[in-house]
């Protein structure tokens, strides 16, 4: 049982891609930057900056949420405790929680009148990360839990028989469940990067006077274009968003495959 092979997979699947691939992804997106496709009424660097903010906020939120959710899913998958079904129900309900309500709750928390007011977080990327963390955590936890629970009992028993510690067994199960967990992370990422309700409220959709985004994401930029009746440019930004999600999905799936080959 090559337990060692799990170790390199873990940072690759969870922590590392966020740091390593963020600039790379932005580079990719700027290569097919839009002047080539269409003459958009945007200033130099505008589209690039909203792509950057979108990725920065959503990838950070999903990375933090993964570090939080996957251990919970593993622990829940391995133990039986009273109220486990209820806890599952709560998590599943969280998957359907409206993003605009999450935005309001986070706003109440970070507003200068709220409990975290002293931190001055309102209309910042950190507040946006907080709200997307709340949004991404239920799907990541629920789908990871399903993946972990779905690992064949025999695999766990084999790991135990071979003298694995509890941690070893957990790592084996994680490895077996990696596709499910990758799906969970992608589902969380999809929820985070596509939501508009909460980032609009807590982020404020701000760009500088020079047209560089501070808290404007692709989704809030689309919302702004739609508000102004610029449906054409809104659609193009929508296409950029879809391309971006597709790219991230491809990268994550590829990382998963590499983990197998190793």
């Amino acid at each position: 049982m090559p337990l060692d092979s799990v170790a390199p997979l873990l940072p690759a699947a969870f922590g590392a891609p966020v740091a390593a691939d963020l600039p790379a992804l932005v580079d990719i997106s700027t290569q097919f930057d839009l002047p080539a496709l269409l003459d958009l009424p945007f200033r130099e660097g505008y589209v690039r900056s909203i792509i950057y903010v979108s990725l920065y906020v959503s990838l950070t939120a999903v990375a933090l949420s993964t570090l939080f959710s996957v251990p919970i899913a593993v622990v829940m998958g391995f133990t039986d405790f009273p109220g486990k079904q209820f806890a599952k129900s709560v998590i599943n309900t969280g998957m359907g929680f409206p993003s605009v309500v999450v935005g309001l709750l986070v706003l109440f928390a970070v507003s200068n009148q709220g409990p975290l007011g002293a931190l001055d977080l309102v209309f910042t990327r950190e507040a946006m990360i907080a709200s997307q963390f709340v949004l991404a955590t239920p799907p990541i936890t629920a789908i990871s839990l399903a993946a972990v629970s779905g690992v064949d009992e025999g695999v766990r028993d084999a790991a135990r028989v071979l003298g694995g510690t509890r941690l070893d067994v957990a790592l084996v199960v994680l490895k077996e469940a990696r596709y499910g967990i990758a799906t969970a992370i992608l589902a969380g990422f999809g929820r985070a990067i596509s939501e508009v309700g909460s980032v609009l409220i807590v982020g404020g959709n701000i760009t500088g006077a020079d047209g560089i985004s501070k808290t404007r994401t692709l989704t809030t930029a689309i919302q702004l274009e739609a508000r102004q009746g610029q449906y054409g440019t809104a659609m193009i930004l929508g296409a950029v968003l879809v391309t971006l999600v597709l790219t991230v999905n491809a990268v994550v799936i590829r990382l998963g495959d590499q983990g197998v080959r190793r």
Binding site: S111, D120, F123, G208, G229
Partner: protein
């Protein structure tokens, strides 16, 4: 409470350090720190309306302010009601809105100080060229609305507690009509979307002139009742005001920078820049802050009298 106390101590500490620095460091970079240096690097949060933001005015003029003081302006476009609410919660430093009634309430409740008249444009009643209710050229906005209501012609309302929505409700009230029924639709959207909805449904709507001009090329609606800029009724005037968040209520409000902003935006140079700002060859906003005969009434709520508060 403990947070406040800690902040207070921190402020004391900072003050002590600053005063010591002042005593010892008489050489050094004293000459560089004139004027704007006290606020350099800080961020001013401005909550404002969609009409000032979506027309591109703020982006066009803010660069000048940012360079002058070395600061950043975060403009959050929310609509008048939400902009004032953010300020009420202490989440912004300065507010630029267009609903005098709501502004007065905001001032009266102590949340805002130092209001200045900033600029104005006007509202227009727009609708399809076919004009099913027949309001074209009417000189009274209230009469036009009553006619639309009587005809049951479709009318799109913003329904979002914005300055434009507030104006629309005031107009219905002045017309003595209570809008309702299938023909009256509250969209809860920004002005641009409301214009698009009206366009698609062949409906009437009330729009600020700026947003309508900036979008006119995309839609088939036309101005049926003019505002005061084109000799329409005075009731369709759309004055914008700017005011600072009261630092006595929210001690985290960046009052110095807010007042620097108000001073800058009401200065002759910026007022000229507002006047020069055009879209599709048309002027969108008319400056109002600089006048040989200052309007003292602007500093107090409409109809305010000093005797009325204490008996």
């Amino acid at each position: 409470m403990s947070i406040h106390r800690r902040r207070f101590v921190a402020a004391l500490g900072a003050g002590a350090v600053a005063s010591t620095a002042g005593c010892s460091g008489s050489s050094g970079n004293q000459d560089e720190s004139g004027g704007g240096a006290a606020v350099a690097g800080e961020t001013l949060t401005l909550t404002t309306t969609t009409s000032t933001y979506d027309t591109g005015l703020l982006d066009a003029i803010h660069t000048d302010f940012e360079e002058m003081y070395g600061v950043t302006v975060d403009a959050v476009a929310q609509g008048t009601g939400a902009a004032l609410e953010s300020a009420r919660n202490g989440d912004s430093d300065v507010v630029m809105v267009h609903a005098r009634g709501l502004e007065d309430e905001f001032l009266r409740n102590g949340y805002g100080v130092n209001r200045r008249d900033l600029m104005f444009n006007d509202f227009v009643i727009v609708g399809p060229e076919s004009d099913p209710a027949g309001i074209q050229g009417m000189s009274s906005a209230t009469e036009a609305l009553t006619t639309i209501a009587d005809a049951g012609a479709p009318f799109v309302s913003r329904g979002d507690n914005s300055g434009t929505h507030t104006k629309e409700l005031n107009l219905w009230e002045a017309a003595g009509t209570d809008p309702g029924g299938d023909w009256y639709q509250e969209t809860g959207t920004g002005m641009g979307e409301a214009l698009n909805i009206a366009n698609q449904q062949g409906a009437y709507t009330l729009s600020d002139r700026g947003t309508f001009i900036s979008q006119r090329s995309e839609i088939d609606l036309t101005i049926l009742v003019q505002g005061p800029i084109e000799d329409g009724p005075e009731i369709l005037a759309n004055p914008y005001g700017v005011m600072a968040v009261n630092p006595g209520v929210h001690d985290n409000a960046n009052y110095d920078l807010a007042m620097a902003y108000i001073g800058w935006i009401t200065s002759p140079a910026t007022q000229d820049a507002i006047s020069d700002y055009q879209m599709n060859g048309e002027q969108l906003f008319f400056p109002e802050a600089v006048s040989e005969n200052p309007d003292f009434q602007q500093y107090v709520p409409e109809g305010w009298s000093g005797n009325s508060t204490d008996g």
